[in-house]
């Protein structure tokens, strides 16, 4: 393979700088011993300690984690079912429509999804906004992702594997338990982790469906920066960033064929 020309190196360096310098600044200033994000004074972990004693922040974090765990678990189960169904059954018309219907929420502008879910919860279901509405919304936008990952994984499997299992005397449940499930496990892990990051980071949709009672971490950060971008916000953003990054790296390890690091 040819080596890329110098100007390509320079251009990509520029792009990466544009993407990552703002993030680096946030991380840097979360360790800055000053209340202002203006100049570097000295190293401190004071803001992190302060975070740990901020009740409101801790409650928001707990909400986010509980919702993310529940939403990604549910999305994984439902998404896996959708993925398996899409791969296994060939139903006229529906076979083409189903993947499209499942994937649409993934591609839909978030603000649209947020508004429509809000209208649906309030006008149609007459649901009090809170935990449940956030949970349903998060499951909705994560499910499609799990379904794709599972379907891609299954598409790479020979159909004869499942026929062989059946031929050797396995009931449909035994085939699922002993063959299908172990084979799609990496996809489930990847799907779960991706759903978790989508859920814990989500702001736009949650903003619409959260109501007044429940606050998640991104909503809390938003309400804090309405006053000012304090070093505490930097610190919590840094933690969120680290968590997300870890989960994405984990996910790409589980399903390298789906989330390819290299072409």
């Amino acid at each position: 393979m040819r080596k890329p020309a110098h100007w390509i190196w320079a251009a990509s360096l520029g792009v990466y700088a544009f993407l990552y310098i703002p993030l680096a600044v946030v991380v840097l200033f979360s360790f800055n011993d000053s209340t202002l994000n203006a100049q570097w004074v000295g190293f401190t972990t004071h803001w992190y300690t302060k975070l740990l004693h901020d009740e409101e922040m801790l409650r928001a974090a707990a909400n986010s984690i509980v919702i993310a765990l529940l939403a990604s678990s549910m999305a994984t189960v439902l998404g896996a079912m959708a993925g398996i169904a899409m791969q296994r059954y060939r139903i006229r018309y529906l076979s083409r429509a189903l993947p499209f219907l499942v994937l649409t929420p993934v591609a839909m502008p978030e603000i649209l999804l947020g508004v429509s879910l809000l209208l649906f919860f309030r006008q149609v279901l007459d649901l009090t906004l809170g935990y449940l509405s956030i949970l349903i919304a998060h499951i909705t936008f994560s499910l499609g992702f799990v379904a794709i990952v599972v379907r891609v994984r299954l598409a790479g499997m020979e159909e004869s594997l499942f026929e062989a299992a059946r031929d050797l005397g396995a009931t449909p449940w035994q085939i699922f338990r002993r063959i299908t499930l172990p084979l799609i496990l990496p996809a489930l892990a990847a799907g779960f982790l991706m759903s978790f990051t989508l859920s814990i980071d989500d702001f736009v949709i949650t903003f619409f469906v959260a109501g007044v009672g429940v606050t998640t971490l991104p909503l809390q950060i938003y309400s804090m920066i309405k006053v000012a971008v304090t070093p505490e916000v930097n610190a919590v953003s840094t933690l969120l960033m680290a968590l997300t990054l870890t989960l994405i790296l984990l996910a790409s390890r589980f399903a390298p064929d789906v989330l390819k690091a290299r072409g």
Binding site: S160, E163, A164, D167, L168, A170, R178
Partner: protein, 361 residues
């Protein structure tokens, strides 16, 4: 009673009749082969026996009882798939244990039977390996062990050897024969390779375009093909267009246009005036120098047009008076001589009156 029977089985896919009115019976302990070119319906028949497909008409019977409505997992027969279909996440032992475990056998019993099955296919030391660590031949053996471990009534093999290279294939064929004799389980083998079918089988069903052309033992199939398709598909053969001019009880006189009369035998009642083909295997023809006399009734002069020297044998293509190119195979068994004739030599081809077969139509 036959172990497995197909009665007037027909299967259609849209407008295509993949299997047309096939009736056959497979006996217990037999090595039975379904042979035919790709698209002849042999795999469809296999899938109907396994239960992955169902006939549109007719029925499949096991021990005289119809298998209609019995799903694959409930049929006491297993398939060795063309691509082996080993479970990639399970070790060799776990793959072989799979049918025992789903049947609910005890752990100790599973272990004992798995060890036995792996020993049978000479893989006793590979139990801990995973399928991706095995060679093609080893995968094949694991698939065989897995399909045989809970002693099915019938083993279906879908072109299991065709993915292997030539040398390994021959070795696996020898092992398959030995294995079948050892376990005594009925094998139903599907292949498009006629040599493989001849070498392995007790009986062969030749299929073409969904129809059963002939069902017989390998040597009968080879010596007495029922029609042009079987004659042409199995081995090399010369097909000479002829008309019957005289027919007595067993003796036939055939007239080949531009060539003359051919004497042949046939126990079937054949009428003078029938048309068809005279089928003659190349190894039944002798090629003499044109001055040598041969005490054979069927003697036709010609010229060697081409020859293929193959070491142990030479294939001569001799052009006869009517332009027909007849193939004759002679062993090079004379010491000190590589071959008997050269290209361009005037020769005479001869064969015994009972050497060929008259094929109607």
């Amino acid at each position: 009673m036959a172990l497995l029977e197909l009665r007037n089985v027909t299967r259609r896919f849209g407008n295509l009749e993949a299997v047309k009115d096939v009736t056959l019976a497979i006996e217990a302990g037999e090595f039975f082969t379904l042979l035919g070119p790709s698209g002849c319906g042999k795999t469809t028949i296999l899938r109907m026996i396994a239960g992955f497909d169902a006939p549109d008409e007719g029925e499949v019977l096991l021990d005289g009882k119809s298998l209609a409505g019995v799903p694959p997992e409930k049929r006491p027969l297993h398939t060795v798939f063309q691509n082996y279909a080993l479970f990639p996440h399970l070790s060799v032992s776990a793959n072989v244990a799979f049918p025992l475990e789903v049947a609910g056998l005890s752990r100790a019993e599973c272990r004992r039977r798995v060890a036995e099955a792996l020993a049978q296919v000479h893989l006793a030391d590979k139990g801990a390996a995973y399928p991706h660590e095995l060679s093609g031949g080893q995968k094949q053996r694991v698939a065989l062990a897995r399909a045989l471990v809970n002693r099915p009534r019938l083993l279906l093999l879908d072109e299991p050897v065709s993915a292997l290279d030539a040398k390994l294939r021959e070795q696996m064929q020898v092992e398959l024969i030995a294995l079948q004799r050892e376990v005594g389980i009925t094998f139903v083998f599907v292949t498009h390779l006629q040599e493989e079918a001849l070498a392995l089988s007790h009986r062969i069903a030749v299929l073409n375009a969904g129809r059963l052309e002939q069902l017989d033992e390998p040597d009968k199939l080879y010596a007495q093909p029922a029609n042009r398709f079987v004659a042409d598909f199995i081995g090399k053969i010369n097909l000479i267009e002829v008309e019957v001019t005289a027919a007595s009880k067993v003796l036939l006189t055939l007239k080949a246009p531009g060539l003359g009369e051919i004497a042949a035998t046939d126990p079937r009642p054949i009428q003078a005036g029938e048309r068809g083909a005279f089928a003659l295997r190349p190894e039944l023809i002798r090629v003499y120098g044109h001055k040598e006399s041969a005490d054979l009734k069927n003697r036709f002069e010609g010229r060697v047009k081409e020859l293929l020297y193959l070491g142990d044998v030479t294939l001569y293509k001799v052009e006869l008076a009517n332009g027909f190119l007849i193939e004759a195979l002679m062993t090079n068994a004379a010491p000190g001589r590589a071959k008997f004739h050269e290209v361009g030599d005037a020769v005479a081809v001869c064969w015994r009156h009972d050497a060929g077969v008259f094929l109607r139509g």
